[in-house]
Point group: C2
């Protein structure tokens, strides 16, 4: 049926290339866009293109910032520039910011080391992090990569590179999440919580 409506087929194909859309939802989304008022769709496109043009990465910490404004973190006097929290992406940064319990700055890696997908240390901002440690007076590095094999490997790689510097390195505590019961936790988490127990 799609062959008979090539413009629609092209729209479907283009939407299928956008990640984080379940395949079933692509058809629904196409219908949504076709039913949308024309000016709303134009508005959506305008916002997309404007964001693409105006939002850039900070050259120091690689967090998104407005093109002609200083970085929220690096340029802030309220943030402690000697404490750097290393995260995989902007989404993890938002999760940490939500806690309102961190006053240092960040370093966004832009992913994790994953040889299977051809992502090595050079594709990430690890070189820039090492440079930052040496030249910007960083005293503490908090490795806050995700608890996945790739995340932990990336953290290990960064830690090994920072071995010979004076910077202190820490990583996030592992254990039982707040509000959950031991009964439903996986074995490895319980083991980690047990072996990394702390004085009460």
């Amino acid at each position: 049926m799609l062959d008979a409506v090539p413009t629609l087929a092209q729209l479907i194909k283009t939407l299928q290339q956008v990640p984080y859309l379940a395949n079933k939802n692509v058809y629904r989304l196409a219908t949504y866009f076709l039913q949308l008022e024309p000016n709303k769709l134009e508005h959506l496109c305008a916002i997309l293109l404007k964001a693409k043009e105006m939002v850039v990465r900070c050259e120091i910490c690689f967090v998104w910032k407005e093109k002609d404004a200083p970085c929220t973190f690096c340029a802030s006097e309220k943030r402690d520039c000697t404490q750097v929290c290393v995260v995989e992406s902007w989404q993890e940064l938002l999760a940490i910011e939500k806690t309102a319990g961190y006053s240092g700055v960040y370093h966004v890696l832009g992913g994790v080391i994953c040889p299977l997908e051809g992502i090595g240390p050079d594709q990430l901002t690890i070189m820039q992090l090492l440079d930052r440690v040496q030249n910007y007076g960083v005293k503490e590095i908090i490795l806050a990569t995700n608890q996945t094999p790739e995340g932990e490997a990336t953290a290990s790689y960064i830690a090994s590179k920072l071995q010979d510097t004076a910077v202190s390195i820490s990583c996030l505590a592992r254990g039982i999440p707040v509000g959950s019961s031991l009964e439903f936790m996986d074995r490895l988490t319980v083991y980690k919580a047990l072996s990394e127990r702390r004085p009460f």
Copy 2:
């Protein structure tokens, strides 16, 4: 953090208005768009706007079609125009077309009757369906709305409106899906399969 990057905040807000995107994915998608090559993003926007302009609904069956081309179904000589399958939306039509087992035409309702959401018969293409039955020589109506309370109510409403016409009305068979076992079926489906049993 978002307050400091208003363009990005605006992008997030706009994407949050698009349905079928999980809230977590909105942030990932925003990152994806910002990291995309500029020409690819422009291409995406161009496709969206072109589709919006070029793809319209057929005036008879309300299936999407190219603006300056005849409808795939209504204008086809291979399709039986006396047999009309009534579906909620284009996605259900695609599911039926995939079976390659139907050679009639369609009628897309554009939704289901749902008083809670303010959708009555007038918001759907039911009037046009009744008109079609009376003036286009339709002999059979297959009600293929979904097996939801709203879908069944809509089918009942259409059936009641067609009561006094000579058209024959049928609906999809209900029962155990192919490949599934009775053990894992819900009670109502098993009951329907039993009460609507057919000769072997």
